[in-house]
């Protein structure tokens, strides 16, 4: 491994781009890259500014805008396939944003293999979810606004992955945060939705602090925040700074990707409409943190300590999310726990350095397919069940909703990693890479796979199998085809996505190599043994779940559960943690300052006035209101300023 680092470091120092690829000025079709962002942005503008006039065609405008962007993405992808392996990076300078204090920022885009993969995921899955939402939101009178926000999200997310400067990325970063916030709180008449939106907002601000600090540090160290300059000069920076930047970026990633310790908002975010959960809180936005880490490979390569932190965060979240997923009876929350856990896998892989970057992205893509599939499936179930989310009230739905069941099953097989479904390929790679790096990481990843199998089987059994526990008068119905078609497409992708990305269209790892670099690892045991071990763990998880939920009837009331279950139901006390660490001290500070403002100063005045005795009565006659306390503050300030000035010279 050590030698790999040094080779890479040399590569970084000689080449502007990490992994040896040099970005060239975009020409021809590539100079139209901006259209990717322009389509959805225009759609959002039309829908949000157009007012009621666009109510009737709102959903169509939104879907077309997103689809056009997807078409454009495919065109660019095809064009890119025609280029040489390491000649697929293009920069497009749009305009100079500002140049202040020697800090210059160009609004420029970078289209390379990594951003291309994201563009296809975002616009592809995004367009499918737009189509699905036409059906899902049909009876919502604010549907136009919903599509406007969705378009806004797509535009911001594309800006995030196409930016060629951390500051531009940050704009996209805030943009997706805004869209996510608007969409979580979309059903604002529900107080829980409003609270969840607020929580997501606040927790994300903590992460954004990391981003701001990272950009500020880059500014201090490199004098720029553009990828090309930062990556090219990373070699010359001190390890201390690089570690700091890496940790700041990790903090940002934790906020956006719901990683420990900033994970608490994601479960509440399920208050949003289900297509939102699928698009933003499963397939795309929450993976932005992984993108950030992989994009910053040049920094992490030179900061092993920061990388270790990434791995640890990933491993903790992986297990935490899985454990939370086991205890939730709300189908969406169970899936949300699963999302946390799967992103934990990606983080873990990304933290392994060049050995893992490509696998992280690979898993990110397959996860985008199968998790979006399962969320939309859950949405379809809810659609048929009058928005019921409690799995204890489901049961036996496979008959009533055959398409939803079949597609959900594909996603299920994919996530638990049964060959040849998509998740098998991607997750297995990560487990391999983890074992190659360190036994502990490997065992965490393996354990996670087992727990994943357990809770997903539980979801499957409670929802689609067993006795019918629903009590509504009319039986649940299958969703309309505008909703099932996207389900089918995503189900197909969940089946073939893994093998397809590896073998059919060319190896995804090879494809990404010019951006992420490559490193081969030596497994501590034969590959076949490891694969067998993984599969056995998965099967064990399935078996345990079957034993607990398949053979016995499921109780409709919530059993007491052991302490771990109780803790998991309460999100492993994430909220209590936030409250103790972040909220309380802030409140104390605010209160004490306000106290000083309101009372302290005045109290001091009263005290002084009493001390002066007879003067106070005359003073009070002359005074109105509290000017006296203001004047006293000022007077104290004058004293402070003069003394401060004089003290400087004294020594």
């Amino acid at each position: 491994m050590i030698s790999t680092y040094s080779t890479l470091a040399t590569a970084v120092s000689t080449q502007a781009e990490h992994g040896g690829q040099v970005a060239v000025e975009a020409t021809g079709i590539y100079s139209w890259t901006w259209l990717l962002i322009a389509f959805p942005l225009l759609g959002a503008a039309v829908l949000l500014l157009g007012g009621r006039r666009t109510d009737r065609i709102g959903h169509l405008v939104g879907t077309v805008a997103s689809s056009l962007s997807f078409v454009m993405g495919v065109v660019l992808f095809v064009a890119m396939l025609g280029e040489g392996d390491a000649e697929r990076a293009f920069t497009l300078d749009l305009w100079e944003w500002f140049n202040a204090g020697g800090y210059q920022v160009e609004v420029s885009l970078l289209l390379d293999q990594l951003s291309m993969a994201f563009v296809l995921l975002i616009t592809g899955v995004g367009s499918l979810i737009h189509v699905y939402s036409i059906g899902y939101m049909e009876h919502d009178e604010r549907r136009r606004r919903f599509f406007g926000y969705l378009n806004l999200f797509v535009a911001a997310m594309l800006l995030l992955v196409l930016a060629a400067d951390y500051l531009i990325l940050f704009i996209g970063w805030e943009g997706v945060g805004l869209a996510s916030y608007l969409l979580i709180g979309f059903w604002q008449h529900k107080p829980s939705a409003a609270v969840a939106a607020k929580k997501a907002f606040v927790v994300n601000r903590v992460g954004d602090m990391g981003m701001v600090l990272a950009v500020a540090s880059m500014l201090a160290v490199f004098g720029s925040s553009s990828y090309s300059l930062v990556f090219a000069n990373a070699e010359n920076a001190s390890t201390g700074w690089l570690t700091a930047i890496g940790l700041f970026l990790l903090l940002a990633a934790c906020g956006k990707s719901a990683q420990f310790p900033l994970q608490s908002w994601l479960l509440d975010a399920m208050e949003g409409p289900t297509p939102v959960s699928a698009l933003i809180h499963a397939a795309t936005m929450v993976t932005a943190g992984v993108y950030l880490v992989v994009r910053s490979a040049a920094i992490y390569d030179l900061a092993p300590d920061a990388r270790t932190a990434v791995v640890i965060v990933g491993a903790i979240t992986l297990l935490m999310g899985a454990i939370i997923g086991c205890a939730k009876d709300d189908i969406k929350k169970a899936l949300a726990g699963s999302t946390m856990s799967q992103i934990g896998y990606m983080m873990l892989a990304a933290g392994l350095g060049p050995a893992g970057y490509a696998f992280a992205i690979f898993h990110l893509l397959t996860h985008g397919f199968f998790k979006a599939n399962m969320f939309l499936g859950a949405g379809s179930v809810m659609h048929g069940m009058n928005d019921e989310v409690d799995m204890r009230k489901f049961g036996g739905l496979r008959v009533a909703m055959p398409v939803t069941f079949a597609t959900f099953a594909m996603g299920y097989l994919a996530i638990i990693g049964i060959p040849p479904f998509a998740g098998y390929f991607s997750k297995d790679r990560i487990i391999e890479a983890a074992f190659a790096e360190n036994w502990v990481y490997g065992i965490c990843a393996l354990l996670g796979a087992g727990i994943t199998a357990f809770y997903m089987t539980r979801v499957m059994l409670m929802t689609f199998f067993g006795a019918r526990r629903w009590k509504q008068s009319e039986p649940p119905h299958e969703s309309p085809s505008v909703m099932t078609v996207p389900l089918v497409v995503l189900a197909v992708l969940s089946v073939v996505g893994g093998a397809g990305l590896l073998y059919l269209t060319g190896d995804i790892v090879q494809w990404l190599a010019p951006v992420t670099g490559e490193a081969h690892h030596d497994l501590p045991m034969p590959l076949a043994l490891l694969v067998t071990l993984t599969l056995l763990t998965v099967l064990a998880g399935v078996a345990v779940a079957w034993g607990m939920y398949g053979r016995k009837a499921i109780r409709e009331d919530v059993p007491a559960g052991n302490p771990l279950t109780v803790a998991a139901r309460r999100d492993l006390y994430g909220d209590a943690f936030n409250e103790a660490v972040l909220m309380r001290p802030g409140q104390y500070l605010t209160r004490s300052l306000v106290y000083v403002e309101n009372r302290g100063v005045d109290g001091a005045v009263v005290g002084t006035a009493t001390a002066v005795g007879g003067l106070s009565s005359r003073l009070r006659r002359w005074q109105t209101g509290f000017v006296r306390s203001y004047a006293l503050t000022m007077f104290a300030g004058v004293g402070f300023v003069v003394v401060a000035m004089l003290l400087v010279r004294l020594p």
């Binding site: 305009w95 100079e96 944003w97 500002f98 140049n99 202040a100 204090g101 020697g102 800090y103 500051l167 940050f170 704009i171 805030e174 709180g185 604002q188 409003a194 939106a197 607020k198 907002f201 606040v202 601000r205 954004d208 602090m209 701001v212 600090l213 500020a216 500014l219 201090a220 500070l589 605010t590 300052l593 306000v594 403002e597 100063v601 109105t624 209101g625 000017v627 306390s629 203001y630 004047a631 503050t633 000022m634 104290a636 300030g637 004058v638 402070f640 300023v641 003069v642 401060a644 000035m645 004089l646 400087v648 010279r649």
Partner: protein, 508 residues
């Protein structure tokens, strides 16, 4: 002794505004009451526009004028131009008469007893108080002179010329008049106190340098050894006078009360323009006259900047009145500007100029929006009444949200570029810890700005909530200009940044 000469061409913008103010007083004396409002508004607009044209024509001039008492150089012209633009927009808000059923935002006669019969009669007759325009012109002239002043006396005179009319204007609100009177009195008392401190400091500095002129004070810093006690006390005391005007902690106590009590158009004008003028003067004084002893005043300003940012941002969190919240926000912003001021170089000057321009525009716009949200008692400034405003009038709420986002420094708004440039300048100047405090304070600040946005768009509308009045074309144009500039300077700040960069050279 020879007669002094005056550079009339370079001083023309100032003379125009002063002259118009004097004519305004004569109009009050001679023009019939019915015609006064129109004549005053036209005169004020003409004078300000004419002055602005002359400032633009003077661009690039670098002259020490009026026997060294006034300097017309890049920073002076930049600030004069900005102040004029902001004042022209302010006039539009002053002249708004649709919101109060034929009246404007000012009491028909400030001297009438609140609640008296006299007041009721005047209101019924739709009597307008037009002295506000000459007063405003005097204030504008003082503000234009303040950052151009090149000696201690002129600086003090400019300080008084800009302050005295403001004290009066604060007491002229049509509604909640007692609050307004209280604000005026507080502002006056504390302002007089701070002016005295400033004058006291000037005397010390004069005692040290034996000259009032900034350039000669600067020379004296190296030649006069052994009297630094006088100098340092003087610098400190003068700093207090200026820090009071910009509303820096611990000289900020007046800000929330005065911002809340003053008629909102006056608050807008005052918040935007006074800060510009005072920071302009402060930069010139500290860079040109006291630049040689910067290591002495920097630690003091560090402390003030930190206190200002922290107190401004944190105390704003618990405000329930929108005008008070904006007041604390303006305190925090003063702290952000101070971080760059500590750096004391050309980059910092450029950053400050840019920041002030963007902040001024956003402030003006935000307060103007406040005048639109009304209930039966006039402006509804309590935050709870703003709940759900976004549902009733999305455009007004959206515009206000834009200004708040600019204050918070969200990318793609002018505030972001401004904040970035002052922080960048501060880092260049070696004040990185200050910037860290600044970033933390802006994070806290962002919270309360966004809280208002959340309140407007995500809360249930308040019962019997306020209505959004439809303003006349005056206010509409003013707010639209502010919003457009805020967005445009966020997307393409290049030209103004370049201008600020070129203008950031002081002539000594």
């Amino acid at each position: 002794m020879t007669a002094p000469t005056l550079e009339y061409a370079e001083l023309a913008p100032l003379i125009t505004v002063f002259g118009a103010a004097v004519i305004g007083v004569l109009i009050e004396a001679f023009v019939p009451r019915r015609a006064r409002h129109t004549v005053q508004v036209v005169l004020a607009l003409l004078a300000l526009v004419a002055s602005l044209v002359q400032v633009i024509a003077l661009a690039g001039t670098e002259v020490v004028a009026a026997v060294g008492a006034v300097v017309i150089d890049g920073p002076a012209l930049f600030l004069q131009g900005t102040i004029l633009v902001l004042s022209i927009i302010s006039i539009a808000f002053f002249a708004e008469r649709k919101l109060e059923a034929g009246g404007d935002a000012f009491a028909p006669a400030a001297s009438s007893l609140p609640g008296s019969d006299e007041e009721r009669v005047l209101v019924r007759e739709r009597r307008l108080q037009t002295e506000i325009y000459p007063l405003m012109l005097f204030a504008v002239a003082g503000m234009m002179l303040f950052p151009a002043a090149n000696d201690l006396l002129i600086m003090f005179i400019a300080l008084e010329v800009l302050s005295l009319p403001l004290y009066l204007m604060c007491g002229m609100a049509r509604r909640r008049r007692l609050l307004s009177h209280e604000a005026a009195l507080k502002y006056f008392l504390l302002g007089a106190f701070s002016s005295a401190v400033f004058l006291f400091g000037s005397a010390f500095v004069y005692g040290f340098a034996g000259s009032l002129r900034f350039s000669e004070i600067s020379t004296a810093l190296t030649t006069e050894i052994g009297k630094e006690g006088l100098l340092l006390s003087g610098v400190g005391l003068m700093a207090v006078g200026l820090l009071f005007k910009v509303g820096a902690v611990p000289f900020h106590a007046w800000t929330p009360d005065v911002y809340q009590g003053a008629p909102t158009p006056v608050t807008a004008f005052m918040a935007a323009c006074t800060k510009l003028a005072a920071f302009g003067a402060m930069v010139r004084l500290f860079y040109v006259a006291f630049g040689g002893v910067r290591s002495d005043w920097q630690p003091m300003l560090w402390a003030v900047a930190i206190a200002t940012m922290v107190v401004g941002a944190v105390v704003a969190l618990t405000q329930t009145d929108i005008k008070r919240m904006l007041a604390y926000s303006s305190i925090a912003h003063a702290g952000f500007v101070l971080t760059a001021l500590v750096a004391a170089d050309q980059t910092a000057t450029a950053a400050i100029l840019f920041y002030l321009a963007t902040y001024g525009i956003a402030t003006l716009g935000a307060f103007a929006v406040v005048t639109l949200v009304r209930d039966s008692g006039g402006e509804a400034t309590h935050l709870s009444k703003w709940a759900g405003l976004g549902k009733r009038s999305p455009i007004v709420a959206g515009t206000f949200a834009l200004f708040l986002l600019a204050f918070a420094g969200i990318p793609m708004t002018s505030g972001f570029v401004g904040k970035l440039s002052v922080f960048a300048a501060a880092i260049d100047g070696g004040a990185t810890p200050l910037v860290i405090v600044g970033v933390l304070a802006s994070a806290v600040a962002a919270f309360f700005y966004v809280r208002v946005i959340v309140l407007m768009f995500f809360s249930a509308p308040a019962e019997e909530g306020p209505t959004v009045a439809v303003p006349s074309v005056w206010t509409t144009v003013g707010i639209s200009l502010g919003a457009a500039a805020t967005l445009l300077l966020g997307l393409v700040p290049g030209p103004l940044l370049d201008l600020a960069q070129q203008a950031a050279v002081f002539v000594r």
